[in-house]
Symmetry: C2
Subunit: 455 residues, 2 copies
């Protein structure tokens, strides 16, 4: 066979041991907080039926799904002579019935409906798995990336929103990464649209509001006008754009502004309730009511949540919200849920950039035994076995090669101690232990070495 | 949209919280032992280029690869009018350039070559990830399943084989699952073929020998004859079939039988070395020299290892061996490696069948606070926060519904304690704590509850 230059698909990544250490640090913290709040783990298959996935992420989303070619002779049932006249979509439908998971929310909704008789509601689940999107790869955007989701399903209580904000706060506190948690409510956005007399244009309005920070008020107004919003309505929007102050002041303004809209007032009252719960058991992060927050408008029906790093300019690190009818499409209506999703890859980038990864030596090998040959190896093996029984990660260099090479291996692997046992050490039943950082050497008994490595 | 009956692709599975607990128990033990022996984690993408995967698993394997449809207009470059005359393979080649990982070994070989300049050899890596095969699903065989691999690459030393046997032994000891570790050596099989004068028929011979247990000696002999092995050669094979005794007796027999074959004697000497290392630092499992073991003959060049449960009839739980030139195809020749792979799904089935999963209460919620309404919730929230700060997994029922429903939730979720705080408890600053197993109730202070949950 010809020699192949090895490579991986565009937008995917290998993770080295060093990178895995950082990633596991992130996953462990998130998993640990999820557990503390009573969330239970589930996993779903990488492949879902395309009928489960299609139509759930908009037209653009359908295109970004990775589709899997049917196995066997996938052309058998296709009228291949007419293929050039067929729309691409219907060819795809005939040759691919499965696709890779695009997010964890739709598979979770499918899971809930499929297993509804085994589930103990209200159901609090977490899920940490990769997802795949055929997006154009760019810095910080990959075709395979990991999501860490926690959702509570089957309860309308705003205590759930409160608990998810606590989860977010605790996770980023454990990362020592200061963040701003932004919160909004879809009902407030609906109320604003109603008040200005453009209820049916809620999406256009919120999309425009969402751009306020990026493109400025002038261009937002132009965009609204272009979308067919009347001048009168735009004028009525003006106070919303100019809203200022702390959360309490904003809530007071909205209460006044939205007093003529039932749904709007409901949104304000929900926000008030969440803020009030947090005042009882405060969080360390900054919490900001931000009515320009409009993510996931397709499915969120209540709270909308987004998290940004405080001192680093990067996209959102976590997002979520309440959805009142996610499982309806799979035949289980009226089940309300609320969830959040941490983006592990972006968190990784931020922690790396801000040098927040701890050096966890216990993760890798703590001592390497030098290999001088058969006789020494036979002496070392039982000692090595004892160390491992005591839970000490330890290695014996497999080949009896030059000392320098073995020391180089220890050095490159960041192994903190090297144990040297030659003929002399065997005679006196001692071990020469070298500290690789300081370069110091000492002669110790096995018990002394064990105590030192454990301490 | 029409309502869809939810389902998942054939051969794939959802994992419930209960199943995840068992699976994590397995992964944690394996990961922990890998670490203790100095293996470092890596991960590779689910998708690999088909050029990396094709031709590595035989013709049958190529068919079992899940192939991913190119994104965008995948038909654009295809001459669709001629499609019905094209062989299926060349259509596939034009519309799919990526596939799902089939095992962890080939991606690892690709990884080693691609990152050779960053790797510290000898490289000991572990990898725990799912793989996908378009096999016909049946009991115990899935289209998505998890492998847990450990490989050492860049060292010829037989200490590596010894260490991997130790890893296997320790993993199954941690599972409290008695196993037989079977070992063979490809060189012994080559020696046997040489001795009987049929060197070029080594594959036919070993495949036949491999079936000895299943189909009996008579049909094995028939099969050898049908493959064109001469009567003379078959007669010379007879003593091999009749070989009996313990490992030492088998080695003595082979030493005698293979004395005329250099490669055969090398195989025996390698086996002797591994047995001798184990005699210095013994294992708990039974170790058996089994010359009918012929798995992975396509790539194994030295040791061949397989693990079977002792008291349960099920396929192999772990397998592995030495391969002398796995990275050659990717342009890095002469790098020897040896590795093992645990099949997590089969191990799960055995542990379930033999009731070996521990009930690890610390994994799920330890206490549920009953929700009587706003006033009580406000009192409970700070206590809940304190418990979680102390690392106690705890929950507040989100809705103020009937007590019976809340107790039912705790019961179904196997939550061991329920904390009841009503008006009375708030007045006297105490908590009524109910033990869900015994049904006992006691009135305790918060500190007493904390101590009890920690203990």
């Amino acid at each position: 066979m010809a020699i192949q230059k090895p490579s991986i698909p565009k937008g995917t990544r290998d993770f080295s041991p060093k990178e895995m250490e950082g990633r596991n640090f992130i996953f462990d913290i998130i998993r640990n907080v999820f557990k503390k709040y009573g969330f239970l783990p589930i996993e779903t298959p990488a492949m879902e039926n395309l009928s489960t996935l299609m139509g759930k992420y908009g037209e653009e989303g359908d295109k970004l799904l990775f589709k899997i070619l049917n196995s066997g002779n996938y052309l058998a049932k296709l009228n291949t002579s007419g293929i050039s006249e067929m729309p691409l979509g219907s060819v795809t439908q005939q040759i691919a019935k499965r696709g890779l998971r695009y997010d964890l929310t739709v598979p979770f909704a499918r899971f809930v409906v499929q297993h509804r008789n085994e589930i103990n509601f209200p159901f609090k689940r977490y899920q940490i798995q990769p997802v795949w999107r055929a997006d154009n790869p760019q810095k910080g955007r990959y075709r395979e990336f990991f999501q860490c989701d926690a959702d509570m399903i089957g309860s309308n209580s705003l205590i759930n929103e409160f608990e998810l904000i606590k989860v977010i706060d605790e996770v980023f506190e454990d990362f020592s990464l200061p963040v701003i948690i932004k919160i909004n409510n879809r009902k407030v956005l609906a109320g604003i649209s109603e008040i200005i007399g453009e209820s049916e244009k809620i999406v256009d309005i919120t999309v425009a509001i969402d751009k306020l920070d990026k493109i400025g008020i002038k261009r937002v107004l132009e965009e609204l006008s272009a979308k067919g919003i009347s001048d009168q309505s735009i004028k009525m929007l003006q106070p919303v754009f100019e809203m200022k102050g702390n959360n309490d002041e904003k809530l007071k303004f909205l209460e006044d502004y939205l007093s003529g809209s039932e749904i709007g007032m409901e949104g304000v009252s929900e926000l008030r309730k969440v803020f009030s719960l947090i005042s009882i058991d405060p969080i360390a992060s900054e919490l900001e009511l931000d009515i320009t927050l409009a993510r996931g408008l397709n499915y969120y029906t209540g709270a909308i949540i987004e998290v940004k790093a405080k001192d680093v300019s990067i996209g959102s690190l976590c997002g979520g919200g309440r959805y009142d009818d996610l499982t309806g499409i799979f035949g289980l209506p009226d089940v309300s849920g609320v969830g959040i999703s941490f983006g592990a890859d972006r968190i990784y980038d931020v922690l790396l950039q801000t040098d927040k990864f701890p050096d966890d030596e216990k993760q890798h090998t703590q001592v390497l035994f030098v290999n001088f040959g058969d006789r020494e190896v036979n002496y070392i093996l039982p000692l090595l076995g004892k160390l491992r029984k005591e839970g000490i990660n330890s290695e014996l260099y497999p080949d009896s090669v030059k000392m320098k090479k073995q020391m180089g291996y220890a050095d490159n692997s960041n192994i903190p101690y090297v144990a040297i046992i030659g003929e002399h050490e065997i005679q006196i039943s001692e071990i020469t232990l070298k500290n690789m950082k300081s370069g110091d050497q000492q002669t110790v008994s096995f018990e002394e070495m064990l105590a030192l490595l454990k301490g």
